[in-house]
Symmetry: C2
Subunit: 196 residues, 2 copies
Amino acid sequence: MAKGETTKDAILDRALALATQSGLEGLTMGSLAKEVHLSKSGLFAHFQSKEQLQLDVLETAVARFIEMVIAPALREPRGEPRVRALFERWLEWEDAKFLPGGCPFISLANELDDRPGPLRDRLVGYQKDWMQALATAARIAMTEGHFRADLDPGQFAYDLYAIILAYHHFSRLLRDPASEAHARQSFAALLAASRS
Amino acid sequence: MAKGETTKDAILDRALALATQSGLEGLTMGSLAKEVHLSKSGLFAHFQSKEQLQLDVLETAVARFIEMVIAPALREPRGEPRVRALFERWLEWEDAKFLPGGCPFISLANELDDRPGPLRDRLVGYQKDWMQALATAARIAMTEGHFRADLDPGQFAYDLYAIILAYHHFSRLLRDPASEAHARQSFAALLAASRS
């Protein structure tokens, strides 16, 4: 059982890496089986359908994001230090080696925005959770006196997300070496405008 | 000849609409032929290959963007009014009825960022042109005295693009009715921080 679970986790990590490059629709049982050196029937023992595999890949992405971005940031002091940690970790996430095609949430948003269904609903739910987490981090920085009392936390979350989306766009498409400096400058300006 | 050209333009507009939803890879000669009520051989009379069709669709998107966003903005007074017009038109572009899947440049960036080739090269070229056009608009606003003299025009272009990317992301994926208000608030803050 424990061994089976490990195998499944390893398959899902490989599937997540593939999905960042080919999309979830491009992730077929055949291509994944080849990639992890299993027979297709061996793979079906873990995932009963392509839909289940896709949902499991999305859950894997969320688990990795919590490990790499959210959990370490929550260990930072409340307020601006935690907001900074969220930004730094999120930027690292965008370049993570285990995500060769970049952030799965951004590419899945583009893949799924016109495709209603359980997968899209799950992604939307996670995006809302994440926006609320960012707004909460801003709200804590307000109560700590780091951010001004009339800041709009939802707007802050939107502006922070915008910086990461631009980083994803310009670093991945244009391979622009200035992308990171631009993202850091945008974040510094956002912090400056948010401080009390 | 004139009639043939019109037909080709009409086919390309339909192909562009389809590509915003299914991606350029999902745009097959078969699905397009069905959509425009032509035989596949009738379609091949216009486009010699799928690659040629994809390039033509990208050129069509660029032509529409120039018509809808760039040309009208260039008729506005130099400086901040022109920057505002670029933003307003760009935001309209994101919701244009003839682009049912949203901005083709954003979805193509996600589709092509890991796929080297002439199509990706062409898209990168257009993105660089557009970033330079935005930076130029900011530079003109500096020489007109609307924007401060130490503004970084490249950073301004990045920040403006970030706002549109976030609008695309949140309006399309989350169908969030607050997206437009957030985008406008971000743009107002960017203008305020850029003014002399």
